[in-house]
């Protein structure tokens, strides 16, 4: 109890120092701020963005001063928070959720000298850039591993919301799986949440009970990994390396590594070379990182590493034709690849997925 109290006191003092006292060195440092949708302790999406922020601090040391605001709901609250950060003298502000798009744009128009960076959106301005990561590249590798490792020929997929980013991930995984086993089956469960550990665990259990023996997730907590470990299945982690939650279950994990991008952009803001850009980086740029391949035979590991190398080198594109939709119509011709804009607005499943996109 005493420890908790002293922690609380320490925290209170910390807040007072942060907000209450004028900082002498503030003028020389570049102030950078991050706005988070979830808590930094989610061990998923927000956690990884915060790791990126910490990397900026480590890399640029006393040239920068970083702050963050966590648990900011999308909507009017976000605008107020972003406005406040802009007024507080931050030179560059990263807003890390899709729903911050309009609020960021509004505040950006009011503060033309501040640089704004919005993750996963598509609206830009002279002082507002966007950035995202090609997570579907990683999912293609997962699909190949799943097809090799599954004994039942069924992979389970815990999905969050039916938005293009998630649907393209499902398709990419399935295309990877079909490249190994054309008859691979997939069972998809939508939990309609990014973060609800108990529900994610329930979904994993349900999928395992129904015969899926490899579990993939597009939700943020390690609950599904733990459930797979307990249920004797294999699983892929999400956002962070979740090996400690599934020492016998984790095959690999798609790790979001925002550090290279954040360091690059803050440096540009420092030396005055920042321009508004649209960045969609993947394995090649070190933004999509695969956790070590574990709990699999050497030949599967070799296959995964080769695929990863090919995607990194640009010789393999997960969405390269021929690709058919569920009706059997050819969507992408042999020798062509799906353009980025079509991946970013994907709302259809590829052939071989025996389910419907929710709400369609």
């Amino acid at each position: 109890m005493r420890k908790i109290l002293s922690m609380a006191v320490a925290a209170a003092t910390g807040f007072a120092l942060m907000g209450g006292l004028p900082e002498a060195k503030a003028a020389e440092k570049l102030k950078a701020a991050w706005v988070y949708i979830g808590p930094v302790g989610d061990f998923g999406w927000t956690y990884q963005h915060d790791q990126g922020r910490k990397a900026v601090e480590k890399e640029l040391g006393d040239k920068v001063e970083t702050t963050y605001v966590e648990n900011v709901p999308e909507g009017p609250d976000a605008e107020r928070v972003i406005e406040q950060l802009a007024r507080a003298g931050n030179k560059i502000i990263f807003t890390t959720s899709f729903g911050y798009m309009e609020p960021t744009l509004k505040v950006a128009k009011r503060h033309p000298k501040v640089f704004f960076e919005h993750a996963t959106g598509y609206k830009r301005d002279k002082n507002m850039a966007t950035y995202n990561a090609k997570f579907h590249e990683g999912r293609y590798v997962l699909g190949q591993i799943a097809a090799k490792m599954s004994k039942t020929g069924t992979v389970g997929y815990i999905a969050s919301f039916p938005i293009p980013e998630v649907i393209s991930g499902i398709n990419s995984l399935m295309l990877g799986a079909q490249s190994i086993n054309p008859d691979m089956k997939i069972k998809i469960v939508w939990v309609n949440s990014w973060f609800d550990p108990a529900k994610e665990a329930d979904a994993a259990k349900a999928l395992i009970d129904q015969g899926a023996d490899v579990i993939s997730q597009h939700t943020d907590s390690p609950a599904a990994m733990q459930a797979a470990e307990a249920g004797g299945a294999k699983a892929f982690g999400q956002a962070s390396d979740m090996i400690s939650f599934g020492p016998k279950a984790q095959l690999t994990s798609i790790v979001d590594n925002w550090a290279p991008y954040y360091i690059k952009r803050v440096k540009q803001a420092l030396d005055g070379t920042w321009t508004s850009t649209d960045t969609w980086a993947g394995m090649k740029d070190g933004e999509v990182v695969m956790a070590p391949y574990t709990n699999m035979p050497d030949d599967v590991k070799k296959l995964a590493e080769e695929t990863q190398a090919a995607i990194t080198a640009g010789t393999l594109n997960p969405f390269k034709g021929p690709i058919y939709n569920q009706k059997g119509e050819m969507v992408v011709k042999e020798g062509e690849a799906l353009p980025d804009k079509d991946i970013l607005s994907m709302n259809w499943y590829v052939k071989g997925i025996d389910d419907k996109v929710p709400g369609q």
Partner: protein, 307 residues
Amino acid sequence: MLDAAIIGAVLASVVAAATTLLLASLGELVAERAGTLNLGVEGMMIVGAAVGYATAYSSGSLLLGTLAAVLAGVVVSLVFAGLAVWLAANQVASGLATTILGLGVAGLIGSSFVGTRIDAAPALHLPVLTGLPIIGEAVFGQDAFVYASVLLLIAVTYGLARTRVGLVLRAVGENHAAAHALGHPVRKIRTLAIMFGGACAGLAGAHLSLAYTPFWASDMTAGRGWIALALVVFSAWRPLWLLAGAYLFGAVSILQLHVQGFGLGIPSQFLSSLPYLATIGALVVISALKHGQGAPASLGVPFVPDR
């Protein structure tokens, strides 16, 4: 499509899902029967989850962790009791403040435990009975929290209806002025009821972080405290209907995941809303059929003893 093994596994999941809700809502039911509406359930629960996990991780003892979670729930509930009972502040505002405070404090306590894990509370397998088909795993293969929730339900049902303590507690909730006139210490009784609610919420939190998903993550209760609160209202403040509500909610929320897995093409957004729709529907029907009691008459009304 369905065989005995799947049905058994589904039932076991349903029991586990319902237990968190049952634990938290039983405590809230007692607090509300004493006339205090504590909207701080989510806050007490998350602090219980954080303190329980921190203690269990540091000490290696699940029992210590559980006790610490219960204690933490009580401590947070005292914040609410201090505001709402002793300072006669607005109960809705005090409860909301308790939840917001709890979420923040829990994040602070848990911050150094993010990314760690412990072994889940073991299932207490009873040798022969667990092997029974279909119901074996669901009834006899659960962890101690499940059995604790059943014992608590029996204790609360019996205690409220059949004991003197229960009678006094209900009297305080129905008409605090009359109870005061009879010489009952209204504020002390209410404080004790709120503390009981805090203990139950803490236990529910421990169920989440020690048994259900044995790790710590901020906001891991994900709104279950609010569902527990709603269940109390819809059960018309009766423990047995609460049991029905919690299990119905648990059952539909597990079943909808299975229905999705079968790929029947029913929109998942609709399926996700089903637990709420089904529970509201069923409990509305129940309370319409029996023109049972409404809310405790003094619920939410601050009590200031006249001297």
